[in-house]
């Protein structure tokens, strides 16, 4: 073992280099596999710069349509988050170790939540679009289902960290299960549930703009059409609306979350 002047053990240098070497090999192998190369990247830069320049001169006559598209996206996010909250609520208690009626139901609940969460939103959206036709409704359902999985898991973690004291006190006083749940569990979990849901809403607002790309309504629909015809000035307008609205939502939601927890 090598020690430095201060007599401290030096971290294994050769391990660091071996790791770096291994990584370099993986990178080069990958870069060849996807035919990505630095020259190609540099070659493409002028084109990208031209397109960015075109987007920076947005077509303001599309501001109104972009904004109403974004309103639909936000509505999709809002409805999807609400559906997720409602479905995640019972599932989270079922999945939590301490509240679930049985160890088996806790295990089952966790697995169901994990399974739901694994499906990327956009794949869910593709299926809902196939079943319900291209519409904001399909987007809402995709976001709702995915949020059920992700919120359920987070809710369950909150439930598992609650203080058992108030529950025991109420039980000792002879309260029934409903009373224990209402007076000892709910006050402990509700603020955190709401904070997590707000955070999920921020994520969903972004997701809703994207789902339109596969036909799930909102501003993504405008984006897809503008991109199809390379109308960069409309793309630029839609992007500005997305950036402004998403930033506003993030800021408002973060302020609310700070008050909650």
């Amino acid at each position: 073992m090598k020690t430095n002047v201060a007599g401290l053990v030096e971290p294994g240098r050769w391990r660091l280099w071996a790791g770096a070497g291994l990584f370099a090999v993986a990178f080069i192998w990958s870069a060849q596999g996807v035919e990505a190369s630095l020259p190609r990247l540099i070659e493409g830069l002028p084109l990208l710069a031209r397109i960015v320049a075109l987007m920076l001169v947005p077509d303001w006559s599309w501001a109104g349509r972009s904004l109403s598209g974004m309103v639909v996206s936000v509505q999709v996010a809002l409805l999807g988050t609400t559906i997720g909250m409602l479905l995640a609520f019972p599932l989270a208690f079922l999945a939590s170790r301490n509240i679930s009626p049985h160890a088996a139901s806790s295990y089952l609940g966790k697995q169901v939540l994990n399974l739901i969460r694994t499906f990327p939103e956009i794949i869910l959206a593709v299926f809902f679009v196939a079943a319900y036709g291209p519409s904001a409704l399909a987007g809402m359902m995709a976001i709702g289902l995915h949020s059920t999985g992700s919120l359920g898991k987070l809710y369950a973690e909150v439930v598992e960290t609650i203080d058992p004291g108030p529950l025991e006190a109420l039980r000792a006083a002879g309260a029934n299960r409903a009373k224990v749940f209402w007076y000892a569990v709910m006050p402990q979990v509700l603020p955190e549930f709401l904070a997590l849901s707000l955070y999920r809403f921020e994520i969903n607002a972004r997701a809703a703009t994207v789902l339109g790309l596969v036909g799930a309504g909102g501003i993504g629909t405008i984006m897809v059409q503008a991109l199809q015809f390379r109308r960069w000035e409309i793309v630029g307008m839609a992007l500005i609306v997305i950036i402004v609205v998403v930033t506003l939502i993030d800021t408002a939601s973060a302020a609310l979350r700070r008050r909650l927890v």
Partner: protein, 230 residues
Amino acid sequence: MGIGASPRVVWEGLPSFYKLMGDLFPPNWTVLPALVQPAVQTLQMALVGTTQGALLSVPLILLASRNVTRQAWLYYGARGILNLLRTVPELLYAAILVAAVGIGPFAGILALTVFSVAIIAKLTSESLEAIDPGPMEALEAAGANRLKMVRYAVVPQVLPAYLSYTLFVFEINVRVSFVLGLVGAGGIGQLLLTALNLFRYQSATVIILVTLAAVITIDAISVRVRQAIV
């Protein structure tokens, strides 16, 4: 107003949804061998995108840290750019880049790169601002220049955070890379889109299962590696 959603509309669509779910089974496993190469290529896209992002984020990390960059306009400029880049979702970048450079993995890698830069630089610069100022002050007092200060006082302190955030982003990028193809940006998602457009649902099932398997595997590996580093 509203998006026209109601329990009734959802209810009325359920039969066609059930039918679609039925069409997905049984999975057409014969396509599996043909998916290995695209799946590997998809992981390669994530690896290249994340690496490029990690490398390009280095100057931005330094610029967006108040204790390294003392020129206010540079610092706020870098912060502003990072916040702006972070607002746009990866798939939106991908869709825009597909229109710009054409369908295929190149657009996808570019999208992953841009997004990785934004996240890695944002998170790492926050860690950098929280480092112990002692070593930097000591080096400055000893007359070291900026470059030496970064090399000997900053790098050793933020390297673990930087690597850990890069891995975290890699995990996100793997998830995203498998669906990038749905907007035309290469990888296995493009096969999924084709299968769905041609109503080859039983083949689509296998592609989705491969995607889920890949996501679960990478999650498990990433958790282990991150535990080893931090």
